[in-house]
Each structure stands twice: as C-alpha cells, then as structure tokens.
Symmetry: C2
Subunit: 336 residues, 2 copies
C-alpha cells in the first residue's frame, strides 16, 4: 500500500513512528506492508517512489523543522495539492490541523484525493462541515473515506457503532471532550473553581492557550455531527447543533450535584435534536468517566444501553486509529 | 438466506420473534431476507422449504410445547442431525442449552453443519470446550462459525475486540457474569449476606435453582476461554483456567472494601494466566459496573484501556446477537 501523508504535526509524526516501530508486526500479523511515498508539511514535501526511510524523515523533521529540507529527497516547492494529484499512491492520510470555520486546507486535500480515486484516511474534524457530500464523492469514485480517529482517538467508537447492526440505535449521548472532562473532574475532586481548573489543565497540556474549541463545546459538537452522520444516518452539520459549554459552571453547582450522587459532565446527545450542554450524570452511570477519559452510550432498541469508554485523545492513540483505518481499507481491497 | 434453527427455548423464540417483528426493517435497511426453513426442538422438527410462518410456529410452540405438533408441517420423528444433514440451508442457528461437561448436543450439531458446508451461528457456550478445532473445521469447509452472543449477549464484545486491529491487546479483564454481579451489588448496596442476596437473585430470575455455573465462576471461565481463543489467539480450554467463585465472600469484606472506595467483583482476566476470582475494583474504574451489567476492559499497547459495558444477558439481547452474526455472514457473502 502506497501512502501520501499530508500534515506532519504530533499526529502525523506519531503515525510514522508507529509504522516504524511495528513494521514487522504488521507484515507478520496482517501481511500489511505500508510504504509512505510522500510526506507534505507546511514548507514543502519529501518524495521517494519506493518508500521513504521513516527514521531519516523523522530526524530531518526534528532537526530542520520541515521534511522538505532533506538534501536528497526534499522538494521545498511542491504543494500538497500537487503531490496528491501527481504522486502515484493508494491512500491519502490527511492530518493537518482542524479548522471548523472554513474546513481548509483539509477539505481541498480530501476532495482532490477522492477525485483522483485515492482512498482517504483522516483524523481531521473539519470533515464535519460537509460529511454527507464527502461520503458521496468517495462512493462516486469507488474509494473509501475513513475517519475513525475523529471521535474517540484510539477508541473505536464509530466502528463499534457499525457493529450494532441487527439492532437499532435509538439515541446516543457522550462525554466526547477530554479537556472539559478534566476541568470538571478537577473542580469536583479538588474543589477548584473553573478558572483555576482551566489553568491547571493548560499547565498540564490538556487545554490549549485559547481553550474556546473545547471549553465552549465546539469540539464536542463537531464529534456529535460526525457520529450523527456516520452512525445514525442523519444529514446534519454544525449549524444543527444547539451548543453551550462549561464556562458558566460554578463550583457550588458541582459540589451540590456531587453530594446528591451526580457529577456534572459536558454531554453531547443525539435524540430528536442534537444538543451539547452540561448534564448531571449519576456517578454509577458508565458514562460518568473521570479526568481526560471519554465515553459514549448507545441506546439500542433491543440490547439497551451499551457504553464504550477510554482515552479519547493523544498523538499515539490517534495515530493508531489511522493504522486501523488503513488495515480496513486493505482488507476491503482483498475481499473485492 | 435459508436458516435451520436447532433449539427453541428462550433464546430461540426471542430470535424468531425479532425476525418476525423486524422483517420489513431488515429487508429495507440491509436487503436481508432470512427464511427459517426448519426448526428442531426436543420433540421433533417443523419444516417448510419456502420458509416457515413464524407467528404460526410460535403459537404451536406455546400451545403444544413442541413445534413438531404442527398438523401440517410438523415432523415428530426427525432428529436435529438428520435435519442439519438433509435440509437445504445456508446457516445453522444452534441455541440448545450449554453443557460444559460434554458439550453435547451442541458439539455434534455444529460439527455436522460445518462438515455439510453450512455456516453456523451459535450462542452456545459449549464451544469453549473445543473452539480451536471448531474454527479449523469451519475454515477447512469454507464456511463461517460465529458466536458473538456467547460473551456479553447483545453487547458486541468479540466484534469490538476485532476492531482493535492496528494496536495490540496486551491483556483483558471482565465482569462477565450478571448473576454474580447482581448478588455482589445487592450485598454492598442492601447490606445483605451472600445467602440472602442469592435467594433474592433467584426470586427475580437472575439466578437459577442450581446456581453453581454462575456462583462458582464456571460461566465466567467459559466466556474467558472464548475471549482468549478468539480475541487473543490463545489456544486454551476450560482446564487452563484457575477458577474460584463468590461463595466465600463475606458481607464484612464487601462493606470494608466499599468504605475504602472499592467494590468486590468477580473478575475474569487474561494475562500470562487465565484467572477467575474476586477482586477489589475501584468504584470509579469503568469496569466497576452494577447489578446485572457486564463490562470488559481491553488493555492496548498504544490506546491504553478501552472498556465496553452493557447488559450481558437476556433472551432478546442474545437473540439480537444472532441477527448481527447472520448479517455479518451475509455481508461477507456479498463481498466474496
């Protein structure tokens, strides 16, 4: 399998290091022998038609900040779109930063790949802006668009939901954002007010300098849109979600709920409406996970509530979701 | 898809009623049109090559205790083995009672079907006695053996575990038996001694008159063997499991653990060894589910701990697992 990687931040580099580390295991267990033939970062590309030496690439990236600085294989003038169009490959792995306003540059990259009949694996939540159209474009071109890392990182939430066939998903609700869950847990367990808990999360690297995406519920809403589209066949976008975040949560509310046996959680839910808002969740509900954990509960017509929980973020975790998606594409190809 | 059903107890009848109720949905959503062409219970069979009228069958079963009493299609003298061998069908659904001593009659039924190149879907935990050999027999004959209902009923534990490709399962541990979990939860929450909690579970239908399979840890061990074989590629049988149950658990142990923030759970675990024994589980661990709920935690090399929880028993829930397996067989067939 020939792969183009666009984006070489934490997730991209984690993906490369997992490939490097587990090469023998993948060949041995799955007969899976991926070759990365091109990598593009903000400053250019690096190409090798027989497959790049990934330890060399990671070293160049670390020492010179761009893969295109490689003296032999670096191509500083090549753009991502040119590489996606012109380099012979089976799959584009798109891991540029999420942009929920315009969706760019991911949207252009993904469309270009699909039009050129290349499969796409992405961890980019920008797809929430146009998922139904992208899935249609993939189907039209006879290729696959996989995005299991966009929800739950290493936790296969989307894949699990697709395994629930034979029963009907009536509704779902989830604690989908580790940053807000860390903050709410710290408020409850350490009796910290919101501002202090946010600062602690930032210090520990669980929240960004501008925490708005997380704290105001947008990240949760984006994931909810992806779940609703891909699991519940709802044709919805971000505009269809009623969103509120956790900035208004007071310490006294958290402590009062706690004494009654509840924790305050930021919950995204899909019923008739798509809603992101704080909820009081019983402490013995499997959805009531702590710290940076995520959890999703699917309510099924016959089997009742099924919950999956685990770490919902992290570079390596998200990198492992890319490999899972690549293996699925390969297995579908073997069956075809 | 032409189906032979062997076994017409709670699970078999639940399966039939789900088929009956969701017929239009299956055709509409999956293009899946199952026809049950034969059903065998303890007293004989009922056959119809174009597909039985399931509401009629359920009525005959209820009123006359055996499907073979149907005046038109009943065949009191036909045995399960004859039906499996001679009736033209794609799949055997085997739901006779589990027997962990001899594996019979399920083992003979399943082998006969596989030898006759019929796929098999079973909820019968007897397969734990010889799973590696049965899987080999299926592969040799080019058919599938599916058993997702044996662990977690409607909760797709085995399917989830197979979705964890791209990462490595290092170990797993699970609360796999609803009866013992109900008893332990009642002891903790209602301060009941073991005997009293067992009686309550029996009264509510959560425990059998002879509760040994559950209470002595055998049911948990059987499920652990199925998980170890099918998910972790361990070639093990029931004899490889170190088993102890919950009869020795004293109310004071439960309460003492509870005050420290732990609940006592019967946990089956696969590490180097396969072990079933009571453990103190932290109350905020996702594995620490209450009542009749089940939960399994997979520890992955990259993604860390992933837990799935839900109702692990029930006729309809187990029935829905059969439909899930049938859909998987059908989809694999479409791809082939």
């Amino acid at each position: 399998m020939r792969i183009i990687l666009v984006g070489c931040g934490v997730v991209g580099r984690s993906f490369l290091s997992l490939l490097l580390k587990n090469k023998d295991y993948f060949v041995h267990s799955y007969g899976f022998n991926p070759r990365v033939v091109a990598i593009v970062d903000r400053d250019g590309a690096i190409l090798h038609s027989r497959g790049l030496d990934l330890s060399r690439v990671l070293k160049v990236k670390e020492e010179r900040r761009t893969v295109s600085a490689d003296p032999e294989y670096g191509r500083p003038n090549l753009s991502a779109l040119e590489v996606i169009r012109d380099v012979e490959a089976d799959v584009l792995v798109e891991v540029t930063p999420t942009n929920v306003k315009t969706g760019e540059p991911a949207m252009s990259h993904i469309k270009e790949a699909l039009k050129n009949k290349k499969h796409v694996v992405t961890t980019n939540k920008s797809i929430a802006l146009a998922l139904p159209a992208l899935l249609e474009l993939a189907a039209y071109n006879g290729v696959q668009l996989k995005f299991s890392g966009t929800v739950g990182a290493g936790m296969p939430v989307l894949d699990l939901a697709r395994r629930l066939s034979g029963d009907r998903i009536i509704s779902m609700r989830g604690v989908l954002n580790g940053t807000t869950n860390y903050i709410l847990t710290a408020m409850e367990e350490k009796r910290m007010p919101f501002d202090e808990a946010l600062k602690e999360a930032q210090k520990l690297g669980f929240a960004e300098a501008d925490p708005s995406m997380d704290v105001d519920g947008i990240d949760t809403a984006v994931k909810l849109v992806i779940l609703a589209n891909s699991v519940m066949k709802r044709s919805v976008t971000l505009e269809d979600v009623s969103i509120s975040g956790i900035r208004g949560v007071r310490l006294e509310d958290v402590m009062e709920a706690s004494e009654k046996g509840f924790s305050i959680k930021l919950v995204g839910s899909v019923n008739k409406e798509l809603v992101v808002k704080v909820n009081e969740v019983p402490k013995d509900d499997p959805l009531c996970v702590k710290g940076v954990l995520n959890a999703v509960t699917f309510s099924l017509e016959v089997a009742g509530d099924i919950t999956i929980s685990g770490k919902g973020a992290g570079g390596l975790e998200t990198g492992s979701s890319i490999i899972r998606d690549l293996l699925e594409i390969r297995q579908a190809g073997l069956r075809a």
